[in-house]
């Protein structure tokens, strides 16, 4: 069985946001999705560095989109998860749920 690296915390957030957004995922909606979920400010630059790292790991692929005058003539880059990326996300979910269920202090929303 091939050994895979653990996904970092922010890598997992970006990957999950990407999966959730579907085909139209690029930097801005991904960072907005993470901000809405976490309540924290997210730098778009951090999102792109993480996407670059995920792409090097083979977990996401990118494609160039359209350029618009609003973007100063610069094209968007859309990202989508690969099959490997989906497997890694499911594995991360299983791992976290297993660990989560064994921590009684965090169950039931108790302070």
């Amino acid at each position: 069985m091939a050994r895979s690296e653990f996904l970092g915390g922010f890598e997992l957030l970006v990957l999950l946001a990407l999966i959730r957004l579907g085909d139209e995922a690029y930097g801005v909606p991904i960072s907005e999705a993470i901000e809405e979920s976490s309540g924290r400010d997210v730098a778009i630059g951090s999102v792109y560095i993480t996407l670059d790292r995920l792409e090097r790991k083979g977990l996401v692929v990118s494609r160039l989109g359209e350029a618009t005058p609003e973007r100063g003539g610069r094209a968007k880059t859309y990202f989508k998860p690969t099959a490997k990326g989906l497997r890694e996300a499911k594995q991360a979910q299983r791992t976290l749920m297993t660990l989560w269920n064994s921590v009684p202090q965090l169950e039931g929303g108790a302070a």
């Binding site: 690029y26 930097g27 801005v28 730098a43 778009i44 630059g45 951090s46 792109y48 560095i49 996407l51 670059d52 790292r53 792409e55 090097r56 350029a67 618009t68 005058p69 609003e70 973007r71 100063g72 610069r74 094209a75 968007k76 880059t77």
Partner: protein, 233 residues
């Protein structure tokens, strides 16, 4: 309806200071968001965070290059100091005032002997003093090409630490020995020497503390032409 103009200085910095395959997309995203109503402060915050995050990521992946750049910047500034000293000794012209005095003064004392600093700063000379670090930043940017932003920032950070010894003048009494890292020109040996510093005043100490790293960074940005996005293998 008029289109809002993105902050030009922030965009100029982004195009030069970010090394990432998605640089164009990042700049496009920020422009798009700004034109949809985000504030100038938001644009600047995103710019500065992108510069730092991309530089840290690049240094983590190419640490050797960053170390090489810092070493090279040290050699270039040392060479400038020695050149200035040689010209000063030969001609009597106070070109010593044209260079950054901190590490150089310590090296001058170590190599040439004597004690105390013969550097006497004046207000106009602070402007001229910035020229050598700007040229060093520019040279680093030219030499390291696409890796320039991270390496220039490393150099600026390194020299911030080195010239922070000048801040000790702000805190210490006149004549208190402060450590200066000195590099022997021929043997290449480095040592920390304790040199009694002449108190040249808080203003000059603060100005030099701010001037050197900022000048290196400015020179690096001027030397880095915006190029096509770096393609990661």
């Amino acid at each position: 309806m008029s289109v809002r103009r993105v902050p030009p200085l922030a965009t100029w910095l982004l195009e030069r200071a970010v090394v990432a395959s998605c640089k164009e997309t990042l700049v496009g995203d920020l422009s798009e968001q700004f034109r949809q109503g985000r504030s100038t402060a938001w644009y600047w915050r995103q710019t500065l965070r992108a510069i730092v995050v991309c530089a840290v990521d690049d240094v983590q992946r190419q640490t050797g290059l960053a170390v090489l750049a810092v070493g090279l910047s040290y050699i270039l500034l040392v060479a400038a100091g020695y050149a200035a000293s040689a010209i000063h000794d030969a001609s009597g012209i106070p070109v010593w005032n044209w260079t950054v005095n901190h590490g150089f003064d310590g090296m001058r004392v170590w190599w040439f002997g004597g004690s105390g600093a013969r550097y006497q700063p004046t207000n106009p000379m602070l402007v001229v003093q910035a020229c050598v670090p700007v040229l060093v930043g520019w040279a680093i940017a030219r030499l390291f090409g696409s890796r320039a932003p991270a390496t220039v920032l490393c150099c600026a950070a390194f020299w911030t630490c080195v010239v922070s010894t000048s801040m000790l003048r702000w805190l210490t009494l006149d004549g208190t020995p402060v450590p200066i890292v000195a590099l022997h020109p021929w043997s290449g040996a480095a040592a920390i020497k304790f040199i009694p510093m002449v108190n040249t005043g808080r203003f000059f100490a603060l100005m030099n503390f701010l001037l050197v790293p900022f000048s290196i960074f400015l020179g690096g940005m001027l030397g880095r032409a915006p190029t096509a996005p770096l393609e990661h293998s």
